[in-house]
């Protein structure tokens, strides 16, 4: 690997690494607008101009400078600072400076870099170019061409990621203007990413416009639960209220992207369909009361446990422990397919046909109880009376199977559906951004959820809801702390052996028991170790 130097600090990087990334490795930030790690290099903003000490001729742009042995750049010279100031000045010549009414304020690169590299004494005497304002170019996006710095990130995104190519920089010279082809509207499922990658306020998300000043928002890490892909996200919230989801970079899972469906799914957190209180026979109840009712229903019955592909691995593990401790004859089921209200769109970019985030986790834990039945097996068992009571985690079993279920139905879930309506006992589970836990995505990657805001109403973490039933039987089945539950889980399930919650890190850990193929409902044979 070539050894390069940034401001005199040596670092080894893979050959061909560009110098913005190499500098990042030694903690040197090289400001840039047009460069994006998941798009082709355009080299047009000129903000990343650096001095070249050795191994090339400078000044040159760091984004298009491939690491070769002996290359040495400097970003700390007066000349580099002067160049950055000059580029900033040029970028602002025709920028409207409407920060007070711009949603990008607070996360705008023009603002950020201006604090460091601003001219501060303006010498602009000429009128600014007028360009198209407030253009409705898609279902999710509003375009303000005056704010644009012509970095072409959005053009490259629509050419290279979605392949739809709707956007272009039209005209030339200082009349260059970002725009959409006549008669065309953005119609793909990744529009929100355009607002994310736009380094300024030219492309803004309709949903977030004028909602919140971003500096009030806290960002917490989580994972999107919309499908089996498990895109990494940041939850932006203030005072227990969620304002938006944005993608969190994970090169192995979702790069820097997320689909619009996932992005806007933050609205589910406050959906009227949330189950916010426990219910017994349709009547509002306290959680321990409902858990007692559940225990009474399940005790001595011929119980079928439907493991939840939308539940955390911890909740599924709690169900395993509950069965082992209190329901020794219970049968395990994992029901294939999606809930009836699931979004039907899918593509080759991110969106999986499987709309459950943790099918592998459910299958993996269920299989700890021996054989696992599918939908047909459950239907048959219900019809024959071999199963006369059900404990269901999250899945809309009634909606999916379309068959009558036994009266003794205990449902642990987040949203109202046919199953919650049919259930004798409902235990409200927190939304996945309201609780800790883990999911295993379609690749077999164990990813971590965190409690970002407080659970709505009386809802509790889904594993705690299962544990409440255990307590009603006479004793907790799992430890209380998430790390301890995971420790037990990792020790008990072979595929997870050796993992710790903390060790999952920001990007998750790949396990190799399952062949990582998208859309697989049942765990496959052990995949050969890589």
């Amino acid at each position: 690997m070539p050894l390069v130097k940034v401001n005199g600090i040596a670092v080894e990087v893979p050959p061909g690494t560009n110098m913005i990334e190499a500098a990042k490795k030694v903690g040197v930030e090289i400001p840039h607008y047009c460069y994006h790690p998941h798009l082709s290099v355009a080299g047009n903003c000129r903000m990343c101009l650096v001095d070249v000490e050795a191994g090339g001729r400078g000044p040159d742009i760091a984004c298009n400078m491939a690491a070769t042995e002996g290359l040495a750049i400097r970003t700390d010279t007066p000349k580099v600072t002067q160049m950055r100031k000059s580029v900033m000045e040029f970028l602002l010549v025709n920028h409207p400076l409407d920060c007070p009414i711009c949603d990008q304020s607070g996360e705008c690169r023009l603002q950020d870099y201006y604090m460091e590299y601003g001219q501060h004494d303006s010498r602009l005497a000429d009128a600014k170019m007028g360009k198209g304002k407030r253009q409705d170019i898609g279902d999710q996006i509003v375009l303000d061409a005056e704010r644009c710095v012509q970095c072409s990130r959005c053009v490259r995104f629509s050419d290279e990621v979605t392949g739809t190519g709707e956007l272009r920089l039209f005209n030339r010279s200082n009349q260059t203007q970002i725009g959409i082809f006549p008669g065309v509207r953005l119609s793909h499922q990744y529009q929100g990413n355009l607002a994310d990658i736009c380094p300024v306020g030219a492309l803004t998300l309709k949903d977030f416009r004028f909602k919140k000043r971003v500096w009030w928002l806290k960002e917490s890490e989580s994972v999107c639960g919309g499908c089996a892909t498990g895109c990494n996200i940041l939850v932006h919230h203030q005072e227990n209220e969620v304002y938006r989801f944005t993608p969190r970079r994970n090169d192995e899972v979702n790069k820097s992207w997320i689909c619009d469906q996932g992005r806007l799914s933050y609205k589910d957190v406050t959906s009227l369909k949330r189950l916010t209180g426990a219910k017994v026979d349709g009547q509002r109840a306290e959680l321990p009361e409902a858990a007692n009712a559940a225990a009474l229903l399940l005790k001595g019955a011929k119980v079928g446990v439907v493991f939840g592909a939308k539940a955390t691995t911890e909740a599924n593990w709690a169900a395993v422990k509950l069965v082992r401790a209190r329901l020794p004859n219970a049968r395990a089921y994992v029901i294939e397919g999606n809930d009836p209200d699931a979004f039907t769109y899918q593509d080759e970019i991110l969106v999986d046909s499987d709309k459950t985030p943790n099918r592998f986790g459910a299958a993996l834990t269920a299989s700890q109880l021996g054989s696992v039945g599918d939908a047909e097996a459950l239907k048959a068992a219900l019809a024959s009376g071999e199963v006369d009571a059900l404990l269901v985690l999250h899945d809309d079993v009634v909606g999916r199977l379309g068959v009558a279920t036994p009266k003794a139905l205990v449902y642990v879930g987040t949203f109202k559906n046919a199953t919650s309506s049919a259930a004798a006992v409902v235990l409200p589970a927190a939304h996945y951004i309201e609780q800790p836990g883990t999911w295993i995505n379609r690749q077999g990657r164990v990813q971590r959820l965190r409690k970002t805001v407080a659970p709505a109403g009386d809802s509790v973490a889904d594993y705690a809801a299962v544990d409440a039933i255990g307590r009603a039987f006479g004793g907790a089945v799992i430890p209380e702390m998430p790390a301890a539950i995971f420790q037990e889980l990792a020790a008990g399930v072979k595929a997870l052996n050796g993992l710790t919650l903390k060790g999952l890190g920001h990007g998750g850990q790949l396990i190799t028991l399952f062949a990582p193929s998208p859309g697989v409902d049942q765990p496959g044979q052990a995949a050969p170790a890589k």
Partner: protein
């Protein structure tokens, strides 16, 4: 005037010089026959040794450029393309048009020879949009050459097959920049590309590509026919051969002149161009097309018309050979404003300094011209030019900056006078009495 062979303008002025019949009477395609009997390496070697330099403006040694094409095993199965840059758009430059108009077969022959040397099967002549009538004449010449079997399959029975096409641009100056030309010929917006990769490695349709100027390729047949020694004997050691100069401005005989490189600039002005208008004195000369720094009379007196001398004497460049003469009737503020109008309009708009800076400089100059500018504007003007130069994707930025840098430095008094008259509230153009 010394005696020297006319290489490029050999048959200009002969009636029907653009037809194959007349051109062949004057020896057209003899060099191609000779070259096709040589090995490609031998042809390249002759061009390399002749010292021929690119006539588009940069003056890069042509033979060396040809050697940058990767060997066949490193091309990944891609063909090599030759593109002739006939997007002649530099203000003050009109020599390629004369070449193609008066002797199209010389260019075609040059491209056959170059393509043989480079292993090219298909080549294109990229013409600026306004050269539609030139394209028609070239297409006629191509048809004549095809009819005679000088183009197409198995040329002269040598086994070498070669096709040549013309392609008309849409009239953007920037498409004369080789990577923008490549973008344009591929059908994209004519905008320069980042280097690396260089066109010789990855150019048009991701294939190795050599882009040569019309005048460069037109000089190749003579070099092959007469040998590199004969070419090298003309001109100077580092700038061998002859060059076409497009002479315009305040001179008695504007036109295109072919002279040996190294000819004193004053000789070009007085002997070929017929000198200035009676009673006028020289104020400035732009020696190589509008993009190069302007020269003062004192610099003109010392400089010769070759790549090295102009740079040494005046920090300017021979460029494309657009020789623009300005006498004492010229207002330098107006002249620069006029030049910058062109650059502000032609910037491709891709990268920041040039996109914003060229128009900004033009705006300042307009205010200066109209008597509305201050000292600060003058400082800013110079500053902006420095902030554009060498900080852009292509050379256009420098091309817009160099006229500004040189005008405001070498003719500073005129710019300051405008600011002073503006401050004194005088109408534009009236100077403050000293």
């Amino acid at each position: 005037m010394d005696v020297y062979p006319r290489i490029l303008s050999r048959i200009w002025g002969v009636p029907g010089s653009h037809t194959l019949a007349v051109a062949e009477q004057h020896g057209a395609y003899n060099a191609a026959r000779k070259a096709l009997a040589m090995s490609p390496a031998e042809v390249t070697d002759v061009v390399l040794k002749s010292g021929l330099r690119g006539r588009g403006g940069a003056g890069f040694p042509t033979g060396r450029k040809w050697t940058f094409v990767p060997p066949p095993e490193k091309r990944g199965g891609k063909p090599v393309y030759l593109l002739c840059n006939a997007d002649e758009s530099e203000p003050g430059t009109f020599k390629d048009r004369f070449c193609m108009w008066n002797d199209p077969h010389q260019l075609i022959e040059g491209m056959i020879i170059a393509s043989h040397a480079l292993g090219v099967r298909r080549a294109y002549i990229y013409l600026r949009g306004e050269f539609e009538y030139v394209q028609r004449r070239l297409d006629e010449a191509l048809a004549e050459a095809y009819a005679k079997g000088y183009l197409g399959e198995n040329i002269f029975g040598s086994g070498f097959s070669f096709d040549l096409y013309t392609h008309l641009g849409a009239g953007a100056y920037i498409c004369g920049e080789e990577t923008a030309l490549i973008s344009s010929i591929e059908g994209y917006k004519g905008q320069p590309r980042l280097k690396p990769p260089f066109p010789a490695v990855k150019g048009v349709w991701e294939s190795p590509t050599i882009v040569n100027n019309v005048e460069t390729l037109a000089a190749v047949p003579w070099i092959i026919e007469n040998g590199w020694e004969a070419y090298k004997a003309i001109g100077t050691e580092q700038s061998p051969g002859t060059k076409l100069f497009s002479c315009s401005g305040h001179i008695m005989k504007p036109g295109v002149y072919e002279i040996p490189l190294g000819t004193p600039m004053m000789d070009l002005l007085n002997k070929w161009c017929g000198g200035l208008r009676p009673g006028r004195t020289l104020k400035a000369i732009i020696p190589g097309g509008s993009s190069v720094p302007v020269m003062t009379p004192a610099e003109v007196a010392q400089a010769n018309m070759d790549y090295e001398s102009i740079n040494k004497v005046a920090g300017s460049y021979l460029g494309s050979g657009g020789f623009i003469v300005m006498d004492d009737s010229t207002d330098m503020v107006d002249a620069l404003t006029n030049l910058l109008r062109f650059y502000a309009h032609e910037s491709c708009g891709q990268c920041t300094p040039c996109r914003e800076g060229s128009a900004w400089m033009y705006n300042i100059l307009c205010r200066l011209r109209d008597g509305l500018a201050t000292e600060d504007d003058l400082v800013a003007l110079r500053d902006l030019a420095d902030n554009i130069h060498s900080r852009t994707i292509c050379f256009f930025g420098a091309s817009a900056a160099m006229p500004v840098q040189s005008f405001v430095t070498k003719f500073r008094d005129e710019f300051v006078a405008r600011v002073e008259s503006a401050r004194a509230g005088l109408p534009a153009g009236l100077a403050v009495a000293k």
